[in-house]
């Protein structure tokens, strides 16, 4: 029976109350006992690995619908301008098949307010012709003064979102009583997602239905946004994404390119493909915004934090969201007195977009570096300082945690941390070595609504059907593993079909580390529903009671020791099929569901040239039950590598005069390469959260990138005494910090370590 439940939904820390329909047996199922099982918890290679490697997997870019036209977008070359667009010459050609400007599509701007803002677009038979068509658009530009300085924006109250204020306790009084107060100003840069597949969509009208083939993290969100923007019933919008080449948070919504493709498809009656080039991707597809952070921490001499204060400026760009840079300082430690203010500066720069733990990556960098400086002042072991401030409940909402094994993470970090004497001793000549650590906190509980079906046929194979997307993390395989485990089938007999809103039930977003915890329990419930039906049939066939039967290793097993191949039952089905349905139940009421962890980094710093080499990172994370240890390790490694890029080499640069983006290509924007990848040790606790769903699994997409920058910078400080307060740690930043450290030493200030 379907049940209607009022529940709280969290996505990346934003809570909303909503109604959810739950059907099936999510809550009726007991969690599996801790530890690896036949399929779940056992390493599995990606089921679609070969298709991807062979080029057989069909991405949006590969789609070749008959009659497809290609779109090219005219973008503002100015950070702020007024554009008078004249499409006459473009439309007069025979080969420009469609042309649109401001007024034809809501994303095209008459007053473009950032470099790369879309102003007009054309469609033609080939991309080359479309680009040539752009030359025939006449634009009268009136350049306007851009606002580029975040501090100036705050002064002028130019904000994207409301300024956020938070406080608990009495911060001023607590600082007055603190034995030690440390403060610092930290800065982080703009970084770009640069998913391998650029943003793109193919849009086609099929009768009254709009088909949208798109590289997206959220099929159903795209469907909702488009239907409400166009005033279409949601069922008239079909959204398809079978394979995608990454998103990292920048593909949660349809994006300008999709609306441009829709407008051109409507104008021409043809399918239209609109794909961003790499340059466009680096201009206008979202970014992790820059931040500045003024932080203050007060502690007693034993290390107990008594007050924390943070003033954050998120340099958001023209649009986007005021991300939770304040999250870690409010949530990570058991500090009674905390105050933050967070400004979201609106600037004539490209809009931000969610990027792998937005806000927390930046906020953790500031907080965890300041904590190490505090440990230095107190002459206290940094790991011990963190233990002493362990929070056993959530102080923001005064709630218990559904599960928290951070102390266990700290214990497991101990052997890695204990390597520091040996690491430091390997310092030689200009190469100074050191070890640093940083704690991690992030969301990752997922939630309803999410639905799945499991179909079992006479071939004794099962198919998971759900209209979710695999962002590239291996979701297909993980979902198949869960169903296989519940059905007692080997993994190779189970596949997952996803990626089409017309061919499966509603599924959640692949963001906020929520895919596995949102979808997994629904898949297990659906598989359990199918298993129950199989056992019902078996009970009738073998004249046994259903409750003595179970499915194991492809067999129907009875309590008295009898067993029959499952084929004996599925063989009866002929063309009939078993269909199990499952829904994700609510999260535990009144509890805070979070992920935790710690990373320990080892670095070598050349104190003469400022070169920083990350030599080893140990990552210990508590994310509940692990479904696929191989896929999970891959997520940890990917997060850390992306974190190393964020820490050392990546920076989107703009011209300080004009506000134009300078780093549009991958020679100028420096992602890490394989030569920058250190030894990475992954240690996942794999302890199911007993309060969370029938799986006890949390998400892992984002946690691994959260503490990486702080751990590396703390290791740099351990190695050299230099206090780096800005990202990236470029040669000039490192040399500057080293020079400041030498100055401090000359002045006789206490050594930093």
């Amino acid at each position: 029976m379907a049940r209607l439940i009022r529940t709280e939904k969290e996505v990346e820390g934003k809570y909303t109350e909503q109604w959810v329909v739950v059907e099936g047996e999510d809550e009726a199922l007991d969690q599996w006992p801790q530890g690896p099982r036949a399929v779940v918890g056992t390493p599995a290679r990606r089921q679609d690995g070969l298709q991807r490697a062979r080029g057989e997997a069909e991405y949006t870019a590969d789609l070749q619908l008959p009659g497809t036209l290609h779109a090219a977008v005219l973008r503002s070359p100015y950070a702020h301008a007024r554009a008078k667009v004249d499409l006459t010459r473009a439309r007069a050609t025979g080969w420009v098949r469609g042309a649109i400007g401001p007024g034809d599509c809501h994303v095209l701007q008459e007053e473009p307010s950032f470099h790369g803002a879309p102003v007009a677009a054309v469609a033609a038979d080939s991309l080359r012709e479309a680009r040539a068509g752009l030359e025939l658009i006449d634009v009268e530009w009136e350049e306007l003064e851009p606002l580029l300085d975040p501090e100036e924006a705050v002064k002028r109250e130019s904000f994207v979102d409301d300024t956020r204020h938070y406080s608990r306790g009495d911060v001023e009084a607590a600082f007055a009583e603190a034995d030690v107060v440390v403060e610092g100003e930290f800065r982080t840069q703009v970084v770009l997602h640069n998913a391998l597949e650029t943003h793109q969509a193919v849009c086609r009208w099929e009768g009254e239905t709009l088909e949208v083939y798109i590289s997206t993290q959220f099929i159903w969100g795209v469907r909702d946004s488009i239907s409400s923007q166009l005033g279409l019933p949601p069922d008239r919008v079909r959204v398809v994404c079978n394979y995608m080449g990454g998103g990292f948070g920048a593909k949660n919504s349809p994006g300008d390119h999709t609306y441009i493709a829709i407008a051109l498809a409507s104008q021409t009656g043809h399918p239209v493909h609109c794909a961003l080039t790499r340059r466009e991707e680096n201009l206008a597809a979202g970014n992790r915004n820059a931040t500045s952070q003024r932080l203050r921490a007060g502690a007693r001499s034993d290390g107990t934090l008594v007050a924390l204060e943070g003033e954050y400026v998120n340099a958001i760009g023209w649009a986007g969201f005021n991300g939770p840079t304040y999250g870690p300082i409010e949530m990570l430690y058991a500090c009674e007195n905390v105050r933050t203010v967070t400004y979201g500066a609106k600037l004539n720069l490209p809009p931000n977009a969610a990027f792998r733990a937005p806000g927390f990556v930046e906020g953790t960098f500031g907080l965890e570096c300041l904590l190490d400086e505090l440990a230095g002042r107190l002459e206290l072991d940094p790991l011990e300082l963190r233990r002493r401030n362990y929070a056993d409940k959530d102080l923001v909402d005064d709630r218990p945690f559904s599960s928290k094994n951070l102390l266990e993470c700290y214990d497991r970090a101990e052997p890695h941390w204990a390597r520091r004497d040996e690491v430091r001793a390997r310092s030689e000549g200009p190469w100074q070595r050191g070890v640093g650590l940083a704690s991690q906190i992030w969301y990752g509980g997922g939630g309803p609504p999410s639905y799945a079906w499991v179909r079992v046929g006479s071939d004794t194979r099962a198919t998971v059907i759900t209209a979710m997307q695999d962002i590239g993390t291996g979701t297909r395989t993980a979902m198949a593993q869960i169903a296989a485990e519940e059905l007692g089938l080997p993994l190779e007999r189970v596949r997952c079909e996803l990626g089409d809103s017309a061919r499966g039930p509603y599924a959640s977003i692949s963001a906020g580390s929520s895919t596995t915890p949102s979808m997994g329990p629904a898949v297990r419930a659906a598989a359990a529903d199918a298993a129950r039906q199989l056992l019902e049939i078996a009970a009738q066939r073998f004249h046994l009671e259903e409750r003595v039967l179970s499915l194991r290793g492809g067999q129907i097993v009875s309590a008295d020791g009898g067993s029959w191949p499952l084929e004996e039952i599925t063989g009866l089905l002929e063309d009939a099929q078993i269909l199990g349905k499952g829904a994700r139940g609510p999260n535990p009421a009144g509890m805070r569901v979070l992920t935790f962890g710690i990373q320990v980094a080892e670095v070598a710093v050349d104190v003469e040239t400022g070169e920083v080499v990350v030599e080893r990172i140990a990552a210990i994370h508590d994310v509940g039950r692990v479904i696929n240890p191989l896929g999970a390790r891959s997520q940890v490694e990917g997060g850390i590598i992306q974190g190393i890029g964020h820490t050392l080499s990546e920076a989107r640069l703009v011209d300080p005069v004009s506000g134009k983006v300078l780093t549009q290509t991958l020679d100028a924007y420096k992602l890490p390469t394989i030569a920058d990848v250190p030894e990475i040790v992954t240690d996942l606790l794999d302890i199911p959260d007993e309060h969370l769903t029938n799986l006890g699994s949390k998400g892992l997409g984002e946690p691994p990138i959260v503490p990486t920058a702080a751990a590396i910078v703390n290791a740099i400080r351990d190695a050299t005494g230099a206090e780096v307060h800005e990202l990236p740690v470029s040669r000039e930043a490192m040399l500057r910090a080293l020079a400041e450290a030498r100055e401090r030493e000359k002045r006789g200030a206490p050594a930093a370590v």
Partner: protein, 275 residues
């Protein structure tokens, strides 16, 4: 666009068009509209390829040079630290000497001094990768690692028209001529004559471990009692130092001052390595 594929120097004679060898720099420049050409001339059958003692065919790839045991260490190291294995397998040493700057203003077609305009946008703008020498009119940085190595080695070039020291290939852009090389239109580098030093080395500071252009590259080569030092990434052209003291005369921009420190450290190391 037309592609011509002459099979001999005689056949090439008088042909218009832009020389194409490995294409690793030219093709992106054409694609981005920074260079325009009606005719491309594939010179791979015309330009010598291979190494014979100190004589290097201009069509020799960086990948071939980096593993050649006879070539001076500075050249091998400079080649090995350049670009990526794929690019080094395509890119030729002749083309490498002529590659265009990575200055983002120039690459994004700002009407800058190097493009014939009146100002250098980098001087007022973002310039952390830019020059500390010869940067009065144009602060771009020359990207070639092997050019600095070959400069320190005292290399001579043979073109289809003349011989000239490598140092004379390069010129700072001036009001009257914005080009950074002294080649005549259509002139083709055929061979490099590289003297054999007693010792040489190339050191490179980059933003990541591999596959990015030099912030500062330092080549040093010792011939008898004389050691020549040349730098990459510090001026619009590969830059020869008279001595390490020349670094005191650098004219860094606010955002490139660190390159002077970087160059000092690397020059000291290079000289130590050769001592």
């Amino acid at each position: 666009m037309e592609l011509r594929q002459p099979s001999s120097l005689a056949e090439l004679d008088g042909a218009d068009g832009l020389a194409l060898a490995g294409g690793t720099d030219l093709v992106p420049l054409l694609r981005d509209g920074l260079v325009e050409a009606e005719t491309l001339v594939d010179v791979r059958a015309v330009v010598p390829r291979g190494i014979d003692g100190g004589t290097i065919g201009a069509g020799t790839t960086l990948a071939e040079l980096e593993v050649d045991p006879e070539s001076p260490q500075a050249l091998r190291e400079a080649c090995a630290l350049a670009a990526s294995p794929q690019l080094r397998s395509m890119g030729t040493i002749g083309g490498n000497l002529l590659q265009a700057t990575r200055c983002w203003y120039w690459r994004l077609k700002y009407p800058c001094f190097l493009h014939g305009g009146s100002t250098c946008h980098a001087r007022q703008g973002a310039h952390r990768e830019h020059a500390i020498f010869g940067n009065e009119h144009c602060a771009s940085a020359h990207p070639s690692d092997p050019a600095a190595a070959l400069l320190s080695l005292g290399t001579t070039l043979r073109t289809d028209r003349r011989e000239l020291p490598l140092a004379d290939l390069y010129r700072l852009p001036t009001e009257d001529d914005r080009d950074v090389t002294a080649l005549e239109p259509g002139e083709l580098i055929l061979e490099l004559e590289v003297p054999k030093p007693e010792a040489s080395t190339y050191l490179k500071a980059m933003d990541r471990t591999r596959f990015t252009f030099a912030l500062v590259g330092v080549a040093a080569a010792r011939f008898g009692s004389e050691t020549k030092i040349a730098l990459a990434g510090v001026a619009p052209i590969p830059w020869l130092l008279e001595s390490a003291d020349d670094l005191d005369r650098a004219t860094p921009l606010p955002g490139t001052a660190y390159k002077v420190d970087l160059a000092r450290a690397l020059v000291r190391r290079a000289l130590d390595a050769l001592a």
